[in-house]
């Protein structure tokens, strides 16, 4: 059974004549990291919104097709400023679990765990609005990870991280994959070819699977 299945997704933004996504179908399995690459403006973030339900729930336009998934989906936006809004990093990480009405000890344990995992302990009481772009991206990622999603959609999450932090996050993602989580990462570069199980190219609204990093088939 697939963790996420998208069938015949098409989408057009209001006022646009062209479809940004055209008849996109894809499946994601448990314990797999999928890379999604392609030219700027090609529809990658739009597809991320469709896979996570942001489209059509929050962003209006002409949407057709369907997406089904097993379990919870978490998305980390490309623009961390759009996702980070609370007075401290600790508040950011607590927000999701609090809204799930988890017990306080559980929330505290999750916050401590994620702060340590991402190397952010010294940022706990900092105001996210005052952090650097890369630090904000980490906070946004941490805020989603405390929700323990089954499926993680990451939109250029590594793009503003320094090399050391990027490698740390990749290790975290590999650990999540080994726990059976499903991850799809939008990245422009070959930053994640070393951890991706499959790579898709989205260009001109259409999807094409590329040879896997291990030299597998291309469809």
């Amino acid at each position: 059974m697939y963790m996420l299945e998208a069938k015949s997704i098409s989408f057009r933004y209001p006022g646009q004549t062209k479809l940004i996504l055209e008849n996109i179908s894809m499946t994601l399995e448990a314990g797999q990291i999928t890379a999604l690459t392609g030219p700027s403006g090609g529809g990658k973030s739009t597809l991320a919104y469709c896979l996570s339900g942001v489209i059509p729930a929050q962003i209006k336009g002409e949407f057709s097709g369907w997406v089904t998934h097993q379990g919870r989906v978490g998305i980390v936006f490309q623009d961390a400023d759009a996702q980070v809004f609370l007075p401290t990093v600790e508040d950011e990480l607590a927000f999701g679990p609090e809204n799930l009405c988890l017990p306080r000890q559980e929330i505290a344990a999750r916050i401590n765990g994620i702060l340590e995992l991402l190397g952010m302990e010294d940022l706990r009481l900092k105001n996210p609005a005052r952090l650097s772009g890369g630090q904000k991206q980490l906070v946004a990622l941490g805020g989603v990870l405390t929700l323990a999603p089954d499926i993680l959609v990451l939109d250029e999450t590594l793009s503003q991280l320094d090399q050391i932090t990027r490698e740390r996050v990749k290790k975290v993602l590999l650990a999540l994959k080994n726990q059976g989580r499903t991850i799809i990462m939008i990245e422009h570069e070959s930053k994640i070819n070393d951890i991706a199980d499959q790579i898709w190219l989205l260009a001109e609204g259409r999807m094409q699977r590329l040879p896997s990093p291990t030299g597998g088939e291309q469809s």
Partner: protein, 203 residues
Amino acid sequence: MIDQLSLCLYKGETTALIGPNGAGKTTLGKLLTGIIKPAAGQLLIFGEDARSLPLSRIGQKVGYCFQNPRQQLLAASVEEEIAFGLVYRGVRRETIETTVDSLLELFEIEHLRRAFPLNLSWGEKRRVVLAACLALNPQYLVLDEPTVGLDAERIRTFNRVLARLRENGIGMLLISHDQEFVRENAGRILPMEGGSIIDDLRI
């Protein structure tokens, strides 16, 4: 955030500012362009004390592209965004149109001429901001993470643009985690950590 930092940046030279997240790179970039004022010390921009210069005067000489392009967009269409600074300076309409046309072509965003900039993808926003910055013919550029959101082909195009600017004597400060981009463009690299510049490397 930054304590007792002294630095000279030279016209006609491309300098890269690198370092871990939270090192103070963006803060330094904003200080150098007058967007934020230092608590102490002196900042000279092309020989003039920045404290006595309004932002508009600094903007005539130094172009700045924010790390988050969304923070820099304010017009209703891409062509208005690129033209904005030129209109504000009272440049002739024909010159504005020619400049806008050539920049739309250079950054491959002609098809977005009438698009609402805030609805564009991050990479498209980035290209619009770069175009708007270059429209003003700055003598010095500060670019904060300019390749984030750009695909490999568009980074190559951008590298060619920067090379041409260097040939014309335009200096720039590139704040970037993109090691390949830094290697391609910078003749001087300043690693930064904990609010201080810890080295000064000539390539």
